[in-house]
Amino acid sequence: MTPPPKIKIRGLTKRFGDKLVLDGIDLDVMHATSMVIIGGSGSGKSVLLKCILGLITPDAGTIEIDGQNVLALSRTDRETLRAQIGMLFQNGALFDSIPVWENVAFGLLARRLVSRAEARAKAVAILAQVGLAASVGDLWPAELSGGMQKRVGLARAIAAKPDVLFFDEPTTGLDPIMGAVIDGLIVDCVKNLGSTAIAITHDMLSARRIGDRAAMLYHGRIVWQGAASDLMNSGNPMVDQFTHGLRDGPIQMELRK
């Protein structure tokens, strides 16, 4: 008998005005596995993550985490649940008015898991996990390079040892080597914490490095699901066109000639 999925999404629908962004998404993510979601820009990937996080309220459908319907929970229960989710934002989204160490310890301080006096040492320890020196803790986010910001963002996301981790385009805007470093860190963190992860990306190399399973989103629907290792030869014409970056195929860009 297979165990119930950690995250179970059924019939998730969201429209903004006339635009149907999510059109009945069904998705299961098993405990302690990584799911990679690929799809073109504007295919609804970010909206899907924000719905699971509770930043956007969907129009229809259910989202269950550990069998609890997130959307039906009371506000305090939802906040408790949300505290178990760590998120790495696309551009880091570091708080630029506070130094790096305070960014890393922010979630711990907010939930009073550490005192301000202990927070600094704790932050340094977490920074070490993403390969950053203690001296980085005293810098301001604006003083960091893109790769370092991503790593600090990752440190902040894993600080509270979350059950579930979300990654929004973790390698976008990084050079290939830094991309590989970030992917490696993500895989290590997810493994060490035993977390369940969902990553959205358009970087095929990254998708295969991070993911156990993969799903492709197109026009608000999941058009393919399978093992991440099958991404490059899935047999699905849409996925093949996307992963190989072909101009001609079932997906037509709406370009005006």
Partner: protein
């Protein structure tokens, strides 16, 4: 045929948008106030906002107040001397400053300085996902960003206006004694004889309302900004314009409330 209908449709849309914004603003303000009184409290954020709104606005408010007092004394003396009523200069200065010009001018200066900065800071946090990041780190952005600023505006502006009142009277006093040749003792006596507690307190009450409005506009427009740099710029402009207009409108309403009996 469609042109007149277009105009009607546009008027309708503007009216609907205005209603929607008013509703959103009311909910935003009510939520902000609710977070002021419900724990957890972010003392550090409150002190930071207090420093920004109050202490760092002192120079600009002080200069405004001194020059306003000076120009009031000069203008009123040329006007009043035609009726041989020079002695009224001192009372005119103190009443104008405490009741009206202190709170309004300090409010407008702070709206330009602080309202804009708040909208820009919170707006940038919005467009760079920092506000969403707060939510994912078990922190309510309304409580962390908005509530401390609203409270700080409410408290800081009356304190600033107290300083402005004193410096405004001082400006009038300097011109009155140095340039217009009043005896300094008589000028001060005239000032103190005419001013009543009500005058000062009503001015401070206005200031508290203005301070709240400035912070509310800065936070509301920043919080709801969209797009990138352009969106933040638009939010900043809206915050300053809306705060300035609201200050003048509420000034009338509050004056009506306090003095028209």
């Amino acid at each position: 045929m469609t042109a007149p209908l277009d105009i009607v449709a546009r008027i309708g849309r503007i009216a609907l948008d205005a209603c929607e914004t008013t509703g959103k603003l009311t909910v935003f303000a009510a939520t902000g106030i609710a977070h002021i009184v419900r724990p957890p409290f972010y003392g550090r954020m409150f002190l930071r906002a207090l420093l920004e709104i109050g202490y760092l606005s002192l120079p600009v408010v002080a200069l405004t107040a001194v020059f306003t007092g000076m120009v009031l004394a000069l203008q009123s003396s040329t006007g009043l001397s035609r009726f041989s009523a020079d002695s009224a200069v001192a009372s005119l200065v103190v009443l104008s400053v405490t009741r009206e010009l202190g709170p309004v001018l300090a409010g407008l200066m702070v709206a330009g300085r602080v309202g804009a900065a708040m909208a820009a800071e919170i707006g940038t946090m919005r467009v760079t996902d920092q506000i969403d990041a707060l939510t994912t780190l078990s922190t309510n952005p309304m409580k962390y960003l908005v509530a401390p600023r609203l409270l700080a505006g409410f408290i800081a502006l009356p304190l600033l206006v107290m300083v402005a009142d004193i410096l405004g009277v001082l400006g009038g006093f300097i011109i009155g004694t140095v340039k217009l040749g009043f005896n300094s003792g008589i000028y001060l006596n005239n000032t103190l004889d005419f001013v009543r507690t009500d005058d000062v307190v009503s001015g401070l009450a206005k200031a508290a309302v203005f301070g709240f409005l400035i912070a509310l506009m800065g936070c509301f427009h920043g919080y709801n900004s969209k797009g990138g740099a352009q969106g933040v710029g638009a939010a900043t402009t809206s915050a300053v314009v809306a705060a300035s207009v609201l200050i003048l409108a509420f000034d009338y309403v509050l004056t009506e409330l306090f003095f028209a009996r």
